[in-house]
Amino acid sequence: MSQFETVIGLEVHLQLSTKSKIFCSCANQYGCAPNTNVCPVCLGLPGTLPVLNHQALLYGIKVGLALNAEINSFIKFDRKNYYYPDLPKGYQISQFDFPVAKNGYLKIKSGKEEKRIGITRAHLEEDAGKLVHDTSNSCSLADFNRTGTPLIEIVTEPDLRSPQEAYDYLNTLKLTLQYLGVSDCDMEKGSLRCDANVSIRPIGQTSLGTKTELKNMNSFRAVKTALEYEVRRHEQVITAGGKIVQETLLWDDEKAQTQTMRSKEQAHDYRYFPDPDLVPFTIDYKVIDGVRAELPELPQAKFLRFLSQYGLSEYDANILVADHGMADFFEAAVKEYPQGKKIANWLAGPVLMELNNRKAAINELKLTPKDLVTLIAKVEDGVVSNLVGKEVLTFMLDEGKGADDIIKEKGLAQVSDDSALLVIIDEVIAQNPAVVEQIKSGKSNTVGFLVGQAMKRSGGRANPKKLNELITRRITGA
């Protein structure tokens, strides 16, 4: 057992999915050819001025409310001054002392335990451009398409006590943000980015140890691995009598280690001051109430409701809630067919498997809630077996047809007709005399074996209940 306690704080930068950029009317769009989605304002041409995007402000308030934070009634924007080629104005417009939201929290579940992670603040700012390094021509190229994308930076208190907790927080946060519909939260595209501050201290000590800041983690998994690496490094350094240097480190995913950042100055003197090109904003309670009224049901509330309203298992409810599309699909399906538990079983089982196989999201499948409940009803009515039902689902997804059509076309309906089944049963009985003897001597549980054999012969299409009934009657005469 380590004699140290780990202390972690996270800073998440989230790109907001407004239509236009935060301070100009360029499209907020990913994937354009370099420097084609720019205008005089986001290029920082001399004489240009910023005007705040209303939607970005509303999204900021929305995020604040979802994180149980106070919305500041007075907010303003400040300039953060530093030089870097991806920053056209030589300063970033951000919020310093009056951010859109402060003093919030997010409840997370780490293992069995529920924990509140404090949110210090959430502030709006503009994203910088992107640099592409061309080592062969010994230059770097700046692309300003991303410049001016609205960002909200969500800063936690140093409340996280392990890399796993950090990982759990990130997943909960991402899910919450996805529910809000303010961002696609796609780490690969960079719409969600995370920096971490980590330090360790002897257990029992209340003051914080020296922290290091980790950057360049491209997945939640990488955040966890990088933190684990860094915690180990801190322990080794301190145990060996050394001291941690406060610095910014870059995570190298391939080498699985952190390294010192060389390019940016370490001594920061950002010279924040109120941006005179932007005016202050007063956010009155009517605006806040308006945004609050539009807040969707958040994952934790939905989870609890799924348990109580539909009697779902925690396992199923978790799976449904973990995917906003899945949860919506579920509720749409229940409206068509009021069998919540059965639908949840299907979604958390076969449908989820199909999604994983196809690497698709539920709304990308050729499957409507109505299609699914039609299929479930067929299984429940004994038209197809559970097993064949899964097969039907695969065909439905492949071919984009309804359950009825697939069952008809492929001839997958269960055979319940006695005479047809008896032909198969007689064959099975003839081939398994020993088992038949056992059944006759009272071991009725071996019937199942013969049912299985008969099912195989039927190509899975036989009605298992009927098989059981007929085999028992045939052998015991009962």
Binding site: T18, K19, C26, P34, V51, H54, L131, S263, D269, V279
Partner: protein, 86 residues
């Protein structure tokens, strides 16, 4: 408060201005003179005074979230800088 050569070097570096040794003295002197002049503000009691960032009070100026075509010509813009090693 006076201003030292070290101060000038620090702020010059922050402002990305190269002040060569032979100009350091001159800038230190002229900046020192201005800073000394500005010192008079320390005499005033401003403890209960709010700062003015905008002389004409305007607030809540917002733009609707509408995309407008950029005014930049369609020719490809390339911005090169010396190679940055992160």
């Amino acid at each position: 408060m006076s201003i030292s050569k070290e101060d000038v070097k620090y702020i010059a570096a922050l402002a990305r201005i190269d002040v060569p040794e032979d100009k350091l003295e001159g800038f230190t002197k002229s900046l020192g003179g201005i800073v000394q002049y500005v010192e008079q503000l320390q005499k005033l009691d401003v403890s209960n005074v709010k700062p003015t960032s905008h002389a004409v009070p305007v607030g809540n100026v917002l733009r609707s979230d509408v995309v407008k075509p950029s005014l930049i010509s369609k020719e490809a813009l390339v911005f090169k800088v010396p190679l940055i090693i992160e």
